[in-house]
């Protein structure tokens, strides 16, 4: 389902994701810790990509190439090498270019170490995903709470606006926003490289409607609970109620939704990259690496596409797992549909 920002509207996707039955399932704590461990590894690598020892720096990551510690070494020919452990891969005859197989993930056509690129890509992808979901959370929570607590015309207006946004096919809306943030006719010297802003904007907009709906439903539910009624009866101001009483109760649901949403947005970013709408080259993001590796895949060179795909897949899987576990813990199914 994470796939299908394109296939299903997000609220349905998410409710399916969080479709855990009420009976308590003994999910192995083992699984949870593995998931956390993997995510921790990815996050640490992403943050520390610049100085972690196991990450080689491709020079293009740096504005000043003198900072990079490696350079394209050796003959350009046959620079694309399979991972060191891939004994079954048959790279073509090497013209005195060092070992035939190299690296954890191998190298791509430009000679960049794929593992390092994947880690830098983690940084870029996670950054984009994280920022997008955060903005989505901020706005979605705001609208949702306003709409769910105050009801009345505010509620109707927000609901209509949400429906309008949802009416536009999600991915197409994102593509539209990202493409049209480029001004094709500008006569500046071709230096309008694509920046991260429009992508985050587009993805945030995608995240807001379902979050609004979710928060609204939860807000309504909690608004009717005794403690809120009690707070109101003693004259507590609305804002205080919202922040002190309702919001803390919503947070767990939000968290698990946010995790799932993060996974979805990561995939969506990949989808945009698959259409060529990612950040400026040669900055890596997972989506971009996968889509650029696809071409090589068809020539039988599988590692430029599959290695980042595996990393992305595992990350999404772990995020989903965590989200699932959280959902299970807080058992919020009724609040969604």
């Amino acid at each position: 389902m994470t796939v299908a920002l394109t296939e299903m509207p997000v609220p349905v996707q998410v409710s399916a994701m969080m479709a855990t039955p009420p009976k308590h399932r003994r999910r192995g704590r083992f699984t949870m810790w593995i998931a956390i461990a993997w995510l921790a590894f990815i996050t640490i690598s992403a943050i520390g990509a610049n100085w972690l020892p196991y990450i080689k720096h491709s020079c293009s990551q740096y504005p000043n190439p003198k900072q990079c510690s490696t350079h394209v070494i050796g003959d350009l020919r046959k620079i694309e090498k399979p991972p060191a452990w891939a004994w079954f891969a048959h790279p073509e005859k090497n013209i005195g270019n060092g070992p035939e197989r190299t690296g954890i993930f191998g190298t791509d056509r430009n000679g960049y170490d794929l593992f390092s690129r994947a880690m830098f890509g983690a940084r870029n992808s996670l950054l984009i995903g994280f920022l997008s979901i955060t903005f989505g959370l901020l706005f979605g929570t705001f609208f949702g709470m306003v709409s769910g607590y105050y009801r009345g015309w505010a509620d109707r207006v927000i609901e209509v606006m949400t429906n309008i946004l949802l009416a536009f096919p999600a991915l197409l809306l994102a593509i539209f926003i990202v493409t049209f943030s480029d001004n094709p006719n500008s006569t500046s010297s071709a230096n309008d490289t694509r920046s991260i802003g429009p992508i985050i904007l587009a993805l945030s907009i995608l995240a807001i409607p379902p979050l609004t709906r979710l928060v609204r439903a939860n807000t309504i539910m909690y608004s009717q609970r005794e403690f809120v009624i009690a707070a109101r009866s003693i004259g507590a101001p609305n804002k205080r109620i919202l922040f002190r009483e309702i919001l803390p109760n919503i947070v767990p649901t939000l968290l698990s939704f946010a995790l799932t949403g993060l996974a979805l947005l990561l995939v969506a970013e990949g989808a945009l990259a698959a259409l060529g709408l990612s950040v400026e080259a040669p900055l890596p993001t997972w989506g971009r690496m996968i889509s650029s590796g696809q071409e090589r895949l068809r020539q039988g060179i599988w590692w430029p596409a599959l290695m980042p795909a595996i990393v992305m897949f595992l990350t999404i899987l772990c995020i989903n797992l965590l989200g699932d576990i959280l959902a299970e813990r807080f058992n919020t199914r009724e609040a969604i549909a």
């Binding site: 020079c59 190439p65 350009l76 620079i79 430009n110 010297s189 071709a190 230096n191 694509r194 400026e280």
Partner: protein, 589 residues
């Protein structure tokens, strides 16, 4: 300043964007040569179709009919049979409308449309423009006046007779086309000969000895005047071309197929052989190859090195290679942009020294393609194995030159490389970035431009470094519009001299060549141009384009046709990488 007519310019750019964009899409499939380009290339070429597209002859032409890679000897014994149909996979969608003066035709578009339109002339296998649809093309003594006589007994597909008025109509329209107009700039007046309704007299405002070369391409496509008049006000009709060619338009579904059927009354008997043709645009090169392998299409054209290398090894699909008078893949530099470091020849040549094009050929194109030493391929006039251009990477020299420049111009050196969304081009651009940075450029950014905008960027001059493919042809004159300063306009205006080269020495040579009819003199002039480019490093040369045409084993006759006067035609029949379908037949298995 070129006179641009309102409507045609609009159409032109519109068509440009699309066809070029489409070509980009096509080329998007890494269908390119070492550092050559995607989009614009063909589009760019076609833009001045007649000039640049001359191109293809049989490669080695070992055997007389030996354009086939396989079994040349048995070829001679086979007699063409009529009937059958063919599906060809092409690089990009052709883009309507198909009115010759308005088309911005990529190579794929020419491959399709030249079966519906005939050109006035075609090259024979020696590269000499030979009258084809025209009966004769004769100059006066000083080449200021040319007379074109229409071939007798030819009618358009809609029954309109082909005569002097038809030629005049077409050429007049071509002159108003924004791009074909550029090609025909020296033409002053076009009038039907009062003494002979089948002839047209063209007066030139300057002696133009090389004029017939322009009659082999887009400016000389002959469309039915009746259809032209009718479609002037009917947009839908513009997409249903009517010509004199061996095939008649049948249907067109955008991005899917272009179908045409045999013209039973074609004037150039015994052609055509096939009953019907279908062209399918398959932009991605690997997809196209797979389509051939799975039998969905019968033949394809490609410049993708890996595919060509693979097909060379495959017995199942014989392959014709068209690579003479070929285009050159290269990296264009914008050389007169205000404030750009590329105004200095040292910086430009530093980039040339820093580039290792041979490695790109080996790595990206699987070794397919010959390293280019200049804009002219081995059998084009002006080719020099050693033009003075640095063929081998010399990083030390590059760093020296940059250091010299920096000594005089303190401050960070920045460059931006423009490329398409295509992965292969991006890979090449990344290599270039590494080289340039190593040479001493402080900051190199890569700007991926989506295909619809790629050509527009070039045409407007909104770039510093740009990947491209161009300059096929026979005669230096066909490059005139790309290099002469009269084609250079300020950034933000449409100009064919993309790099905005304004070199008085170059201008002089081009003008001299235009007026000259002496082969030896022309050869020297062309070689001088070659050396000038090498010295100034206006462009970073890549490799000469090879078009591979792998096909099913029973497809015969590719590039093997005779002209009406009995001489053998050149493979590409005047337009780079294309070949006429009229001589193709199936059978012999």
């Amino acid at each position: 300043m070129v006179h641009i007519r309102q409507r045609s310019s609009r159409r032109l750019i519109a068509a440009a964007l699309v066809s070029l964009g489409l070509v980009a899409v096509a080329c998007g499939g890494s269908d390119k040569n070492s550092s050559s380009v995607t989009a614009g290339t063909t589009a760019g070429t076609t833009a001045a179709a007649p000039e640049t597209t001359a191109a293809a002859t049989a490669t080695t032409a070992a055997a007389p009919t030996g354009t086939e890679a396989a079994a040349p000897t048995t070829e001679a014994a086979l007699k063409p049979v009529a009937g059958g149909s063919i599906v060809m996979g092409i690089e990009a969608d052709t883009s309507s409308p198909w009115r010759p003066s308005e088309m911005l035709c990529a190579i794929s578009c020419h491959q399709v449309i030249r079966n519906i339109y005939d050109t006035l002339a075609m090259p024979n296998d020696k590269g000499v423009p030979t009258p084809y649809l025209a009966e004769s093309i004769t100059p006066n003594a000083d080449f200021t006046q040319w007379t074109i006589k229409a071939r007798a007994g030819v009618t358009f597909h809609d029954g309109t007779p082909f005569d002097g008025a038809a030629i005049a109509d077409n050429l007049t329209r071509a002159k108003t086309g924004a791009l074909t107009g550029n090609v025909l700039r020296p033409v002053d007046t076009i009038t039907v000969d009062p003494a002979d309704p089948m002839s047209v007299i063209l007066k030139m405002n300057t002696p133009w000895a090389a004029f017939p070369y322009s009659l082999m391409g887009q400016a000389a496509y002959m469309a039915s005047p009746t259809w032209l008049a009718a479609s002037d006000n009917d947009d839908a009709l513009k997409s249903q071309p009517v010509g004199t060619g061996p095939f008649i338009y049948e249907s067109y579904v955008p991005n899917e197929s272009f179908k045409m059927k045999k013209n039973p009354n074609y004037w150039n008997k015994p052609y055509p052989y096939l009953d019907s043709l279908e062209f399918r645009p398959i932009p991605d090169a690997l997809n196209r190859r797979d389509a051939l392998k799975s039998g969905t299409i019968d033949l394809l054209h490609t410049t993708n090195g890996e595919t060509i290398a693979e097909m060379r090894d495959t017995k199942e699909f014989p392959m014709v290679e068209i690579n003479n008078q070929a285009e050159t893949g290269y990296t264009l530099l914008h050389v007169t942009q205000d404030g750009s470091p590329l105004q200095d020849a040292r910086v430009r040549c530093a980039l040339a020294y820093a580039s290792d094009e041979q490695s790109i050929i080996d790595t990206i194109s699987a070794g397919v393609g010959q390293l280019a030493s200049g804009p002219f391929a081995p059998d084009q006039a002006g080719y020099l194995a050693d033009s003075g251009y640095p063929l081998k990477q010399d990083m030390g020299k590059a760093q020296d030159l940059i250091a010299q420049y920096k000594a005089e111009h303190p401050g960070p050196l920045k460059l931006s490389l423009a490329t398409t969304q295509d992965e292969t081009n991006l890979t090449i651009a990344q290599f270039q970035k590494q080289w340039f940075e190593e040479a001493g450029i402080d900051e190199v950014t890569i700007d991926q431009i989506d295909q619809g905008n790629y050509i527009l960027t070039a045409v407007l001059g909104n770039f510093q470094v740009f990947q491209w493919r161009n300059h096929g042809g026979w005669d230096l004159d066909q490059q005139y519009i790309w290099w002469h300063s009269s084609s250079s306009l300020p950034v933000g205006q449409l100009a064919l001299n993309f790099g905005r080269i304004k070199d008085p020495d170059l201008d002089k040579l081009l003008d001299q060549n235009r007026a000259s009819n002496d082969p030896a003199e022309k050869k020297t002039i062309a070689e001088d141009v070659n050396k000038l480019f090498a010295k100034q490093c206006y462009n970073i040369w890549g490799a000469y384009t090879i078009w591979g045409i792998p096909h099913k084993a029973d497809v015969q006759g590719i590039g093997d046709f005779t002209l009406p006067d009995g001489t053998k035609g050149a493979d590409g029949a005047g337009i780079a990488g294309t070949f006429p379908m009229m001589s193709v037949w199936r059978g012999g298995q």
